[in-house]
Symmetry: C2
Subunit: 249 residues, 2 copies
DNA sequence: CGTCATATTGACTTTAGTCAATAGAAGTGG
DNA sequence: CCACTTCTATTGACTAAAGTCAATATGACG
């Protein structure tokens, strides 16, 4: 483990994530870049952590997509959020335990695992890190709140459109969007579990989105020909993502 | 402001909240009890903070119930969470701004307003406080996740039952439950906005809960004759509330 | 080539929403 | 305390959204 390309990628992503709201000191940056990480790959659908567990490491997504979800007694699954490259799988897992939900790979995924103890001691030496992590927790919570509004008050059609908008903006921030398109490996079952819908209804709503020319979904690629139109349909306002102001062109 | 009975009540609640997971040092306890607070009353429905605002004070509920909510373009309202006595209205509002949602009184309510700057400087002197606040943020997020699962995967009947269970447990922790009953001032519109339902359907689902003898709701009081049955109906598991182990009897 | 997961379709059921009317309660001004 | 307004709760009739069940494609993969 700790192959050097992985480590470099992990460091870059981690710094980018933590500096999203405010720059870090050189000392902290360099401490973070020598942080001990264990890189681990997961297959699509593979469980990363179970509900009720108390992991000793935080996960940080390097590649792929990771779900947090709950299973209900009746067998239903509710996806609670999607973690993309540059996200912690669970920004709060080191302050409150055990996990109240499970975590699994939603696509083939690569994670950096960072021991809580390492984060802990870094936080003690660098109070800025605390603030950066709190902000990350807060951002995560903000996304969760928007999901609540979506589940509660948007139609199936809007929910899917909204999710696509969110993924688009978040992936774009991570540099994963090219030609208004991004790789899309989720199944209709995944979409249903995220939006609280049956797969049949997901299928029909996707068809409606296609017919309305809001999305083109083929070859595991989601293409958005007219983002403004999709946002309009979804009643999507990216403010809740707290994206930094547009970077220099 | 700062009438002494208010201040005493505020201090007690605040310490109880912050010591939920771990005791605080005597120094921090005493610093907290001299924290400058401004006590303010709100009428039912009164706006406490608007979406897009960047408040300079955190709110801490002393009495009543407070909603966080979003308004959607089509006019719908989604309640994102309910803050009860002993809760911060918005545990994250000092790390990420502006507010991505609005805050209003769901019943006549009394809040202590604590300047962010005061919290900030206390946190610098007492790292324990940071940890306590992070845990509170994490707990708040955990509750949000359960709401997500509820909105996505529970029926109207179950959603209402689940909300009643949650309020019961949380209020019980705050000492607000007597004879298996608690004061209940929410309207059916409020319940609908919390559960993503129309008021008509809330009304009918409540009738079903009554018919099944799971709740008795009259005179602004909610009585739960058989908690085990209500929990069963709601598929409610209080684990997500991270309640402390049962206290000595 | 055969198997398993995923996507699609049709027919039908159920849940929940909408619209509209009425009844009850609470609050206000006189 | 009364008349009046307004909010809240309830009911009925109807519509629409979404779920269920079952069958059939389609695609990925060993």
């Amino acid at each position: 483990m700790n192959h050097s390309p992985d480590r470099l990628a992990a460091t870059g992503l981690l710094l980018r994530k933590l500096e999203r709201f405010a720059p870090l000191s050189a000392a902290l940056r360099s401490a973070l870049s020598t942080l001990a990480v264990r890189v681990q790959d997961y297959a699509r659908g593979q469980l990363i952590a179970s509900q009720g567990e108390s992991p000793e490491e935080s996960g940080f997504v390097l590649e792929g997509i990771v779900f947090r979800f709950k299973l209900l007694p009746d067998g239903g699954r509710q996806i609670l959020g999607m973690q993309l490259p540059g996200d912690f799988t669970d920004p709060h897992d080191f302050v409150i335990r055990p996990l109240d939900h499970a975590i699994a790979a939603g696509s083939p995924a690569r994670l950096a695992r960072v021991p809580h103890a390492a984060l802990q001691s870094l936080m003690e030496q660098h109070p800025q890190l605390i603030r950066a992590l709190m902000r990350d927790m807060a951002l995560d919570a903000a996304i969760g709140r928007e999901w609540l509004a979506t589940l509660g008050r948007r139609s199936a059609y809007q929910q899917l459109a909204h999710l696509f908008c969110e993924l688009y903006f978040r992936l774009e921030w991570g540099g994963k969007v090219r030609d208004d398109s991004f790789e899309f490996l989720l199944t209709q079952t995944d979409l249903g579990d995220a939006c609280g819908l049956s797969t049949v209804h997901v299928n029909r709503s996707l068809q409606a989105l296609r017919k309305d020319k809001l999305i083109v979904l083929e070859d595991h690629t989601l293409h958005v020909p007219d983002m403004a139109a999709l946002m309009e349909a979804a009643a999507f306002d990216p403010a809740y993502l707290y994206l930094p102001k547009i970077e220099a062109a």
